[in-house]
Amino acid sequence: MGEGVSARNGGSTMSGKTLYDKLWDSHLVKERADGSCLIYIDRHMLHEVTSPQAFEGLRLAGRTPWRIDANLATVDHNVPTTGRENGVEGIEDPISRTQVRTLDDNCNEFGIVEYGMNDQRQGIVHVIGPEQGATLPGMTVVCGDSHTSTHGAFGALAHGIGTSEVEHVLATQCLVQKKSKNMLVQVDGELKPGITGKDVMLAIIGKIGTAGGTGYAIEYAGSAIRGLSMEARMTMCNMTIEAGARAGMVAVDDTTIDYVKDRPMAPKGEMWERAVASWRELKSDDDAEFDKVVHLDAADIEPQVSWGTSPEMVTNVGDRVPDPANESDPIKREGMQRALKYMGLEPNTPMTGIQLDRIFIGSCTNARIEDLREAASILKGQTIASTLKQAMVVPGSGMVKAQAEREGLDRIFIDAGFEWREPGCSMCLGMNPDQLGEGEHCASTSNRNFEGRQGFGGRTHLVSPAMAAAAAIHGHFVDISDYYDRAG
């Protein structure tokens, strides 16, 4: 697992282009005298939390959206995951209700398509874009949400933006950008049974750190990535921001094209053929040079569990909580000590010895149909540990929920003792009532284990859906490989 750094030829034109270079070049509207670039945005997704101030800004300046049909909105962060019969009026928290209603009003006023709370197409913004074919290969996709990197799985240039930029995109259909550097993360070989995109990504973050990708756009490549489904690729691109890079991407191949075909907003007929021909070019040239290259051997990757308060604080399920005493860097050591104190963990505790209080299967990282199938396959005929206070599944969208119900997955979860909820962000960030209590440990399929993220004083452990399901049965983490070995 060596890490190589190859210098770029000072921008000379001798080498080929990376996928990122191609996406950048095809969206460059203008390079200005000061070196800043105007980049055109094909798809702008909106949600209720980061958009109200942007719409207000438009109104105050007397501006109108540049191109209405490039926008697509939904409510996800604040929405309750139970009791939606009474619609928006039924949202108990008055401030959440106002925020949800404000997006509805803004979309009405400006004529933007919105999947409202009780629309079956509603869901987490990064789940519904790909699901509806609103995300297409070769696009630039932005949203006022850092996990917009998810959409890069389609060979798209996708990243999160702040609210001022949401307003900027609404008003101009462009962003002012500076080009990032190119990083290649190459994962070759075969993954062990039960190892998912989530484990691969956590292992990458553990290796390069949460600031490892700062200033870069990351392309994931190699035989192990080619072998992943679209949904697993989305999981990886999703957590690119946890590695510090705003954008992650995977080249287009048959897997991509098969996934996009026949989606409601995907091109059809002759236009489809034309689009596919163009999408086939969305890969890095063989002689493209990257500013940084990181290699991982797929066969080395074990099931991952985070132990601390940053996604880089992660280890193999078979390992122990690390000991800060072994860390030579004083700033890192202090960070580890602080994290262990917050997590209520002693150094050298086996990861499998951590007792859990709650299980959360959901979020834009892991709440698509494959994730639910994976978790259900572990839970079938099992029941969750009596020591747990709660286990819940929150599907990523109404469409995912309906599909899972057609397959009977909801029964498997409910019979095992899980709660089966309505779609939204839910306990990923606990803006709605779904939260951890103080000091509670949670096995969570989400993406951030920051202090207080899932609730005041809550303690998050990031894992894959299969790992979360197995942990639910036992009340503590177990090595999922054992399940697959037995089955295989």
């Binding site: 800043s36 401030i95 850092s146 002012v176 489809w272 689009a275 163009s278």
Partner: protein, 214 residues
């Protein structure tokens, strides 16, 4: 937008790396539909001993005496000195809004998360990168001298210490220009409306499926 040219202010040291946006402004405060009023809840979970909620009277809440911004010597601080990867996590612009609302004008760190860094410039807040050794030096100085203030000069891209030492920092020309002049960058972009339209016309030929509405 508020312009930033030159600022002299008391420095508060926040000695931890990877300060994330959930820490800067916890989620329950993101439900607001306004841009202002986030200051009292900046670093809420570190600053207070109880759990904060929107609408709660912050003046009645128990303060965490150990937290740097609660210490008497750092009252009125407007320059935040911190460690690597400040602002990592979500894209919430509520983070710079809260820092600005609290009274910070500049943040000094060895590195920042990309989206946060970008968001600061839109809000008259200057994030500036100094070398790791320089940040170390400043931490030592701030902790040993009460009332330690720095002068940040965006025009000249310098940070000056009370004893006359000068550090230099880099910043993009476009961002510097907008911040120095307090420019509305949407207005600047719209000066290129013709170029945007020309791009759209060309793209409609190349990739018509991206323009289903024609």
């Amino acid at each position: 937008m508020k312009a930033f040219t030159r600022h002299t202010g008391l420095v508060a040291p926040m000695d931890r790396s990877n300060v994330d946006t959930d820490m800067i402004i916890p989620k329950q405060f993101l439900k607001s539909i306004k841009r202002t009023g986030f200051g009292p809840n900046l670093f809420d979970e570190l600053r207070y001993l109880d759990e904060g909620q929107p609408g709660k009277d912050n003046s009645q809440r128990p303060l965490n005496p150990e937290f740097v911004l609660n210490q008497a010597r750092y009252q009125g601080a407007s320059v935040l000195l911190t460690r690597a990867n400040f602002g990592c996590g979500s894209s919430r612009e509520h983070a710079p809004w809260a820092l600005e609302d609290f009274g910070f004008r500049a943040i000094i760190a060895p590195s920042f998360a990309d989206i946060f860094y970008n968001n600061c410039f839109k809000n008259g807040l200057l994030p500036l990168v100094l070398k790791e050794e320089e940040v170390d030096e400043l931490f030592r100085a701030v902790e040993s001298v009460e009332g330690y203030a720095l002068t940040v000069d965006l025009e000249n891209q310098t940070v000056a210490t009370p004893d006359g030492k000068i550090y230099h920092f880099e910043v993009d020309e476009f961002r510097r220009h907008c911040l120095l002049n307090g420019l509305d960058d949407i207005g600047v972009t719209l000066e290129d409306a013709d170029a945007i339209q020309a791009y759209e016309e060309r793209r409609k030929q190349e990739a018509p499926w991206l323009f289903p509405a024609g």
